[in-house]
Symmetry: D2
């Protein structure tokens, strides 16, 4: 438990949602700057909002955050299940949901903090916004490997995820080439295709499929046939996990009858692969990168971005800009209202410059 001395300035920080490379760099920057420049105490909330519900904290000293810059994950722990407004409680075999935001508010009250820094993605920041509306002074820090938080050019964790995905595509390339196969690499992205788009371009993918642009399987098959006619006997398809054929799940069912189970188990790339294999009489193989994309040490890019955002969060506190999220605009940092963030993810559109650039060098988007 955290001993609370009354006189000193005090803030708290929590990390919510899926883990993401760079979180520890944010915790380090927030804590170091708070201690060095503002003479604040910093309280770390454990396991996201779970810690606020059950009063689980630790104090963070300068030494606690030394040496964590390169460490993956979050030293505070996290969960993507603890929503104070819809909290699951298990009774026997039954699960009931209840609103325990009042508990959270009273626990925060007891902490006597100037501000709660919430590091999280869509879900976490949506909750942050609700808590802010209920009176909690909150500053948000956007965190997601998906890069789809509204109001910021880029989020930390994304560059690392793209790097890992690209390395995967690089490796798959030589196998595809040696075996004259169609290889599919499935990357994260349920709603937003940013990872697939970036890693697809960086890895020289031939086909890139993103959730924002439903694909037509015939277009993909035609494209691959064309490639084969010009002597390119292999193709690399980069698929975001959330892609759907034009027409949606009904079409999936139609092209591969047992697909529901397959979708659940192995990802959409299995459905797509099975169908292509049948259509084209070509060998296909799929690799689902999954959790590889979110763990481990972060790229230098993400470490720097996370450090800058953490530093900026302390500035917003000083300026009492609560209910705001630190955000990136070009080479500068800014504040952006959590209320706006809560309106939903930032998605790609079919006329995005990068999609046009990719098309111009011959990439197929399946539509």
């Amino acid at each position: 438990m955290v001993k609370i001395k009354n006189k000193k300035r005090r803030i708290a920080i929590l990390t919510g949602g899926g883990d993401c490379p760079g979180i520890n760099a944010v915790i380090r920057a927030v804590t170091k700057k708070a201690i060095l420049k503002r003479n604040m105490e910093v309280i770390g909330v454990l396991d996201g909002y779970e810690g606020l519900i059950h009063n689980r904290y630790r104090t963070l000293s300068f030494d606690d955050v030394s040496g964590i810059l390169t460490l993956g994950g979050t030293i505070l722990g996290t969960t993507n299940k603890a929503n104070p407004f819809h909290y699951a409680i298990k009774k026997g075999d039954e699960i009931k949901f209840s609103d325990c935001s009042a508990v959270v508010l009273s626990n925060i009250e007891a902490l006597k903090i100037e501000c709660l820094v919430c590091v999280g993605g869509d879900g976490t920041l949506w909750i942050s916004n609700r808590l802010h509306q209920l009176g909690v002074p909150i500053v948000g820090v956007p965190k997601t490997i998906d890069n789809d938080v509204r109001g910021t050019d880029i989020t930390f964790g994304f560059d690392t995820a793209v790097s890992i995905a690209t390395e995967g595509i690089d490796r798959i390339h030589t196998t595809a080439q040696s075996h004259h196969r169609i290889m599919m690499v499935e990357v994260m992205g349920r709603k937003a295709g940013w990872i697939a788009l970036h890693a697809g371009i960086a890895g020289g993918g031939d086909v890139i499929l993103i959730p924002e642009m439903p694909y037509q399987i015939d277009r993909i098959a035609d494209y691959i046939s064309q490639r084969r006619k010009t002597g390119r006997l292999f193709s690399i398809i980069v698929v975001a996990e959330g892609v759907m054929p034009m027409g949606g799940e009904a079409v999936v069912q139609k092209i591969v009858p047992d697909s529901a189970e397959q979708l659940r188990l192995g990802g959409i790339s299995l459905v797509l692969g099975a169908k292509l294999e049948k259509l084209m009489e070509l060998e296909t193989r799929a690799v689902v990168l999954g959790h590889l994309q979110r763990g481990g040490t972060s790229t230098p890019f993400d470490r720097i971005l996370a450090t800058r955002l953490g530093s900026k969060a302390i500035d917003l506190i000083e300026e009492k800009k609560f209910g705001q999220m630190v955000s990136v605009k070009g080479n500068y940092l800014a504040a952006y209202p959590l209320e706006e963030v809560a309106k939903g993810p930032r998605l790609a559109t079919a006329d995005h410059e990068m999609i046009k650039a990719a098309r111009a060098i011959g990439v197929c988007f399946g539509s």
Copy 2:
């Protein structure tokens, strides 16, 4: 087509089976040494035995193999489907198998080569042995990421596969820790658990499951519970794709009724994860590394090993040691009869020094 001039010494080289990091380093060493030291012509057979059936070759010059040392895959192409003694021919929707070894023998005859260098694993070398018994002068070079070729301490490709698998485990570690989860990393190895054993130790896996040692799920669950009691809330399980519970597939069926389909689609780690999640009421996640482990550039270790083996192959040809495979014995290279290689893979035993070393620092093997 390859023009055949009659006076010059001539050898051919083929690469068969799954692709494997380091193959190009073998091709490069064989070709460079043959040209520089023996004044030989080198003929590259395309797509493994397929090329011998259909007379598809290219000559390999010094320049052709310059700069391929770091390249993944094989510049000659490969397939794991063309067995001359059991060759699939498609007629309409039907597939018939036939023995076309006579065609292969006559094609080899026509090439007028001193020796055929066969770079391959279990399957490829089994065929090499048969061809040698039918009179073809053959030297084998062991190639498999699985490290399970009989008669050699180690095979190239293995170090790269272990490195990639270990990097995967390293990344998964921080997610497991941050979310207090059980994370499973499934690596290649249908019969042999060498990749799982090595990557499991290198990545600090808590549980390592290999095909050679059927696991008991209760042992794993007990072990994880013990860990949790001492404050270690997460566990990493490294699983070879070919593992089975004690009792075999029948037990799989029993513990997860629909598992047949799951096994086919997503790998054994799904079955195991589902069962553990139910048994222990803990979150589990699985990552199947799959083809990531066999593509891309090779580690320096594998480049060196492949170069040395390729160089040694030329020596065996000079010494007319046909029907032999180049092999590693400690710091030295040797010849080993293909006849012995054909007897089956090299597997781990429960009293292997590495398994004992791993147990001694607390690793659980599920048995």
Copy 3:
């Protein structure tokens, strides 16, 4: 030599100055888009302006640029010595400089191109601007690992250089810690300290020295002493090659009399290390990363950026925006006059947000 057919649209591309990760991605994007979307011929000029002086070219086909995305260096060759306006010609032991721009203009004339795409940094783009003023239709693409081209938020190559430098610092960290040493890592940057600043933050450097901010050795010594008093027995100093003490070279001479030779041979970190070792009676070691920072495959970030810039270059040609450089502004691409670029490098200032962020978490800048 390049055969010139008269009817087709035609452009040329050259790469000048030091090599830089991502150049081949630009060449690939320019060539693929020119061929696929504009039905242009693309001529590659060899070895920068040297090729224009001596008429050395190759045509670039779609196939020529397939598979070069991940390749370091430039397939066209480069040099940082061929300035057409001040070209060195050797006669015996003597070197004479002459203006051979007329030759270049006439050679370009003969090529019958719509536009010359010049991929280069400070020096190359300065020459491009002069050639444009003399009537050559030119589009520039900024290229430098130093990130100091005026008019663009970022240049490709920089992310790769920062990544390599950061990996170096990461490695040095454990040695510094184990031996309780002061370790210096010297990175590129003669005028601009961007690599040192970014890699210093990403690698958790304790001291960061950049050319824009002359250092005072006493400040550094004081800072290290303070660290030691709080139990931090080691320190990492990240130094840009172009740093100078306050007072300039005269001070260098004073603190280490023989330093002129040392500066030339081993870099400023030797001078600084020798002085600190004497001042503080502590072991110091220096690593000069040098050419490691500019070679090899590029990061995914740089591959994407280079691809986008190459694609945009074709758009500028279509819009006849000659005398312009493609540039990055936040998430968008734009055109920026070469005339402005020629005014000199983009440098950091002492109040830059990143410097303030670094100071806030305790980094010392030696001033």
Copy 4:
């Protein structure tokens, strides 16, 4: 200070000499196995023999060594200056050396340990042997990135050093190629050329120079000229830091008069580069990898090797095989007398299989 309870079995471990990737994996394996399997207490001696002279220790618990597997350096600290038989003591500006082995013996006595595990290279193990001869029960673990410890096939740290050096050569390759330069990469190895030999082969170096084979500059120049005549306009020279021209330092002085200073400051590659540049009128550049090669996380290969050696050390203690070093013989581990180890390093000979293999594919060794 370490509290000493009398009843329990107890061992100590120290790490001496330069840091080396994998040391922490040894400490972890020794400690975990000692605690889990032998119910021993483990005492960590700080900063090598320095800790034994000044009684500086810490106890190592199971938790202390959890999570250090991937950590570079040594958690116990190290120094390459504390030789108990020749210990430097500073009085004013003067340094005096004295034999303080009696102090060390009495301090070890007081620790009441069964065995002292010494992890070190040449120097550290030489001291271990002397201490053993004076009655201290010692087990040695070979540790050096140079791979030159007598009596073992390989040492941990070497694979990591070779990997880093190879990555450096890979990066340098593209610069050499783009600029048509001679690039030199200087790697560690004062007496033994193993790193240069392995990294040179793995990185496709054209010239490899090792201390065991004095080079003749004319041979190198001839070789590079030959390459240029066949269109290979660049060359990569991999140089061990300890190489000398045939004829020794006198020749260095002769070819580059001011070389003494250069050798001290920038490494032999500067001398060699200056000479070649003059001889051949070609641009040369050198990169000195230096401390990059010994820091940071270790390769999976080294983590496994270090774990196995640490585990084996406990076995030797159990078998009371004191005065022995754990060693690698092919796929097995063995014991080897420290007395033999002390006889000097393991060097390459001109007829080593790897040197012959490298020559056979065209590598020049300068002799």
